[in-house]
């Protein structure tokens, strides 16, 4: 996974509450078993004029040239609610997003972001949405700086931060502890034999 330290990019505003993962990547756009080929389907229901079509809906913000190349997405509360499909994070990453700023996130979606190098930042995103502007994210410092130079600190849990900054693979990290896990399981199987099939 690509490590994340700092990022400066235009931020595209999609400030709606309860944006669900069906909206981020409609089920009908999850056409293959793998994790790729999803960027085209990102926000397909809003981004294109017709279901299954690829004609851009001119009123949709991702199609506004003023936001071309944006790597930061601004969202509303409870962003990423609904289905646990990691395809939502895969589609965002493949499209080029490296950070989402929203007042709150669904917990499964937030975890999926972290596993795919996207930084979930809990901040009122509306403050950044008035005009197209570059934002500077400094993850080690946990700050977002707007075009006027205003600095906003944000909170993120230490495990997620370490994973993102280090570009770490969680499975590799955990497998270092495989002996401890095996010992725990061995002792536990004596205590709770019904848990082991």
């Amino acid at each position: 996974m690509t490590p994340f330290t700092t990022l400066t990019s235009i931020a595209v505003p999609l400030i709606r509450d309860n944006i669900d993962t069906d909206a981020i990547i409609p089920s009908r756009e999850m056409k293959t078993v793998g994790k790729t080929g999803l960027a085209d389907g990102l926000f397909a229901g809003w981004r294109y004029t017709a279901v299954g079509g690829r004609t851009p809906e001119p009123g949709f913000v991702l199609n506004d040239p003023a936001y071309a190349g944006a790597a930061i997405l601004l969202g509303g509360a409870n962003f990423g609610c609904g289905s646990s499909r990691e395809h939502a994070a895969w589609a965002l990453a493949e499209y080029g997003f490296r950070a989402v700023i929203a007042p709150s996130f669904n917990p499964i979606f937030r975890g999926n972001c972290v596993r795919n190098g996207i930084v979930p930042i809990e901040l009122e995103a509306g403050a950044f949405a008035s005009a197209p502007q570059p934002l500077a994210i400094d993850l080690p410092a946990q700050t977002v700086t707007d075009a006027a130079g205003a600095v906003m600190p944000f909170a993120i849990d230490e495990e997620a931060k370490a994973m993102l900054v280090g570009g770490l693979d969680a499975i590799d990290l955990t497998l270092i502890k495989r002996d401890a896990i095996a010992a725990f399981r061995k002792a536990d199987a004596v205590q709770r034999p019904w848990a082991y099939l």
Partner: protein, 467 residues
């Protein structure tokens, strides 16, 4: 120190404290389905990693399989077959148990896991599916994860978990006749909002919860994800033990006795402190229906679509207006009487035998209104067989319902079957998102009873208007 049920299960499964509130937690069961499980198994294999404990992993086909009678691997959903075959091959290669098409145990993952006693009290169970929280109904700590986390659980038998906060919702009193666990779930969503339990494990407690059977508890816990909860859990009791005893993967003999003795300790201590503690009166709960495009946009069935001023604590003006526009409704418009195009009974929320029985009791001797498409999809092969053994299929068919093969079906649109644009659907499912059941489809969530009554009336209807 006094502990909640969650604390007891967490402590028992904590392999190592990773610091900063994160734990390395032992995972007892991993469940997979063809939509998100196949990709996890394939990705794991591509990385050269093995499934560490295949006997504790189960897979089923539910999400993209057709539910029409006579189905095969071919799907109405374009490319759906690839998900089925990839999952089948990956499951075989990994040596995990698969409830494949044609297996009488096949069905929706959160329906079959309790049926087979794959989920047990006190276990940790994960599945790359947001409705995994349903299974907390049996006193397990069960939660939905993404595919990467599924790979982690498969490869290591653990997950790195940020310890969730705890919430208790005590429902005192008795639910009135005709008021169902689905209505309670929608009542709680309307009251506390779609992020009302964000990051919490919600323990449902109180007399009204204890009075529910296991199937009712599964319905209640199912919609905790609509609440943004980490999961939901209910203290396991005699109701749960009686339900599980003798089922295929339940412990047997002396081991059963030993397990039950331990499970009986899985209640929150009397003086345990929750991060958030709510109390709700069961008498305040009435049949509910959603009017908008978020499950929190729910109202008592007899009420009108709320004015923005009445819900401004929950929604922005824009979200309210957008939902009204999408649903083709106006503020103050009555929901009862709104003409419907379709009625759907199914999903991990409400497709168990008791759901079908209650719907059938309304449909018996009646017929679906002209022009209404009505579909019933049993949640599993076992539900379907049991329903057919007592003649429920005949009641549904005679009433004009389609009677389907088990699966998730039209709970969501995956590119195959769907309801039409602007069609109004009354549905026993869990999500009324924009285009969830079809591009432009307008979904109203309700109990199976309300779906059945509305199908007969041809309009959103209360039970007493029909029965």
């Amino acid at each position: 120190m006094a502990k909640t049920i969650f604390d007891k299960i967490w402590d028992r499964h904590l392999v190592e404290d990773l610091g900063a509130g994160t734990g390395l937690v032992l995972i007892d069961r991993v469940l997979l389905h063809e939509r998100t499980g196949g990709v996890a198994l394939e990705s794991l294999a591509e990385a050269g990693r093995a499934v560490a404990s295949p006997a504790q992993v189960f897979a089923t086909m539910d999400h993209v399989v057709d539910t029409l009678p006579g189905r095969t691997d071919r799907t109405i959903m374009p490319t759906g077959t690839a998900f089925i075959t990839a999952t089948r091959e990956a499951a075989k290669a990994a040596g995990i148990t698969l409830f494949d098409l044609g297996d009488p145990r096949q069905g929706i993952v959160h329906v079959i896991s309790p049926e087979q006693a794959i989920v047990l009290p006190g276990l940790t169970l994960v599945c790359p599916d947001s409705h995994t929280c349903s299974q907390g109904a049996l006193g397990a700590l069960a939660w939905g994860i993404g595919s990467s986390e599924a790979e982690h659980a498969l490869a290591t038998t653990t997950l790195r978990v940020k310890r969730p906060r705890t919430m208790r919702i005590t429902v005192d009193g008795v639910l009135a006749p005709g008021v169902t666990p689905k209505d309670l779930a929608l009542h709680l969503l309307a009251r506390f909002g779609s992020s009302g339990a964000k990051g919490h494990v919600v323990e449902y407690a109180g007399a009204a919860v204890r009075a529910l059977d296991v199937e009712g508890r599964l319905t209640l816990c199912n919609m905790a994800t609509e609440f943004a909860a980490f999961s939901a859990i209910i203290a396991p009791d005699e109701t749960v033990f009686a339900y599980l005893e003798g089922r295929p993967y339940a412990p047997k003999g002396a081991l059963w006795e030993r397990a039950v003795a331990e499970w009986a300790t899985l209640a929150s201590d009397a003086d345990a402190v929750f991060d958030t503690d709510y109390s709700v009166g069961a008498a305040d709960v009435v049949p509910m229906v959603t009017w908008g495009t978020s499950p929190q946009q729910a109202v008592p069935l007899g009420r009108a679509v709320p004015a923005f001023a009445d819900v401004s604590n929950r929604d922005t003006a824009e979200a309210h207006a957008r939902a009204l526009d999408y649903m083709g409704l106006s503020e103050g418009e009555a929901l009862i009487g709104a003409p419907i195009d379709a009625a759907f009974i199914g999903s991990c929320t409400n497709a168990r035998l008791s759901d079908l029985r209650r719907a059938a009791a309304i449909l018996k001797g009646r017929h679906v209104a002209a022009g209404v498409r009505a579909i019933c999809v049993p949640g599993s092969g076992a539900v379907k067989a049991a329903a057919e053994a007592e003649g429920l299929d005949r009641i549904f068919l005679d009433a004009g319902f389609e009677w389907r093969e088990p699966g998730c079906s039209m709970c969501f649109f995956a590119g195959g079957e769907s309801f039409g644009a602007q069609e109004r659907v009354i549905t026993s499912t869990n999500r009324n998102f924009e285009s969830r059941q079809g591009p432009g489809t307008r979904s109203h969530l309700a109990s199976p009873e309300t779906v059945a009554a509305s199908a007969v009336a041809g309009r959103i209807a209360a039970l007493e208007q029909v029965a």
